[in-house]
Amino acid sequence: MKDWKGKNLIFIGGGIAMPPIRCAIWYALENRADYGNITIVYGARTVGDLVFVDELDQWAQKERTSVIQCVDPGGETPEWKHEIGLIPHVIERSNIPAENSVALVVGPPIMIRFTLPVLDKMGMAKKDIYTSLENRMKCGIGKCGRCNCGPVYVCKEGPIFSFEQLSQLPSDY
């Protein structure tokens, strides 16, 4: 994240991805002066599936920080005041500025697969879009043979990849 100094940051988390992505958000907020605008997009299937909602409200109060919350259609409650829609659709209609931005996308593979092209369409460079692959691992030392995506062992050579790197790999994730 040190390489991202001076950039706008877009954090996109789906479902239970909030715990891992939260650490990166904390780091950015603790070093607030180093970064431009921060956009946090967090969605889950239903309102009940959202975690750390108190923190989301606190983050929305921080300077140059906006939080977009969403749930899948049908997952909302009568009190729900935020967005309804799948994360890629919500991002598409949210006018998040793509210029000088870096995006970190964490979530289920299906969300990643549909979100990366949306960021690409917004005009972001593929090298500035990062994601984390969730491939199943057992040994974590590049031996047991199950986390690979083509020639890449996710445990040893990932799990963080840029969209540029991911475009070179087979879709085994």
Binding site: R136, I141, P170, D172
Partner: protein
């Protein structure tokens, strides 16, 4: 200059190894007349000739089907971990085929890139492999297509070649092999066992690698592998397949963490905690197996993850295996089979 040993003396030597407390692994006749590599109790069990290949491989000598990697104990809120020493019992594999032995230098790459696997390396260092050069083949043999042959020396410490009148020519390949037969052989300048040509070459690995690079999403995978049942017999008996699972076996007091053979052909192999499976159908799993052997491993480690032994096809309940899959791929690449 050749060195020879009489078969009777060889068998006596095997009994001597056993008496010295060494583990000896060799082809034996199991139930139903199936030949298997298994631990010997006496040299009389050893079957050196009269079969093409055992139904399994010798990889158990270095990579057992189940191995404890550490143990744990619960002490109140504390967890006590204990290392398990790698098994370094001296082991001699006798009667392996050259295609079995050739798998060992190939596996060395995987178990020693980045983290060095002490369990594998301890067994590997304690193992001496004595092969018997091949004079018989069947339709499933294709060692010559992957750069090996009936007397390929890769992975062998010593090689036996069947000479007339109950003799074997002994060719030491490594220092371990020399030490094993030191003083046990007789010089026989007149004996020089000819080496056969081996099975005819069945495909070109460069053609295969080119196809694999350009056809990841091809429907050919579905068409060619449709009949695969996903039983994993190919992988368990393969000398080079090395995928494993790690599980904890224990109770409230403690237990052990165990490494067990696994296979990329099983549906649960890559399934995520969420239920999502990147390789949800059998064709994707077959594609992974072939890609791993003929493209990923060569790209990563400079070696093909296949020795052409044909064990996968002999064990396959639907006659698939690497050879038939690759021959079908070669036919698709040539355009002689149309992908629907």
């Amino acid at each position: 200059m050749s060195d020879v040993i009489a078969k009777d003396d060889l068998l006596r030597l095997v009994d001597q190894w056993l008496a010295e407390g060494k583990r000896v692994l060799g082809p034996v006749k199991a139930g139903d007349g199936v030949i298997l590599y298994a631990p010997l109790a006496a040299s009389s069990q050893l079957v050196l000739e009269g079969f093409v290949h055992a139904a399994n491989s010798i990889k158990e000598a270095v990579f057992p089907r189940s191995e404890t990697i550490y143990t744990y104990k619960f002490n109140g809120h504390e967890i006590e971990l204990s290392d398990v020493d790698p098994d370094s019992t001296q082991c001699i594999v006798i009667g392996a085929r050259p295609c079995d032995a050739a798998s060992l230098p190939v596996l060395d790459h995987l178990f020693n890139w980045d983290y060095k696997d002490k369990f594998y390396n301890a067994r590997r260092a304690a193992t001496t492999v004595v092969t018997v050069a091949c004079s018989e083949y069947d339709d499933n043999c294709f060692c010559t297509s992957v750069g090996l042959g009936p007397a390929a020396e890769q992975g062998s410490d010593a090689m036996l070649l069947k000479a007339p009148d109950g003799w074997y020519e002994v060719r030491a390949v490594t220092d371990k092999g020399t030490a094993l037969f030191n003083g046990k052989t007789t010089p026989a300048p007149e004996i020089k066992v000819p080496i056969s040509d081996g099975p005819a070459k069945k495909f070109d690995t460069v053609d295969i690698e080119t196809f694999l690079k350009n056809n990841y999403e091809s429907d050919a995978w579905r068409d060619i592998t449709m009949r695969c049942l996903g039983c994993g017999a190919c992988a368990y008996n393969c000398p080079t397949c090395h995928c494993f699972d790690i599980v904890d076996e224990g109770d409230a007091a403690g237990g052990r963490r165990v490494k067990n053979w696994d296979s990329c052909q099983f549906g649960q192999f890559t399934v995520h905690a969420s239920g999502h499976n990147p390789r949800a159908v059998q064709a994707q799993r077959q594609r992974q197996r072939i890609q791993h052997k003929f493209r990923i491993y060569p790209e990563k480690f400079g070696a093909i993850l296949c020795t052409g032994c044909g064990t996968c096809t002999r064990n396959c309940p639907v006659s698939l295996g690497v050879l038939n899959t690759l021959e079908a791929i070669a036919a698709v690449a040539r355009g002689s089979i149309e992908v629907k």
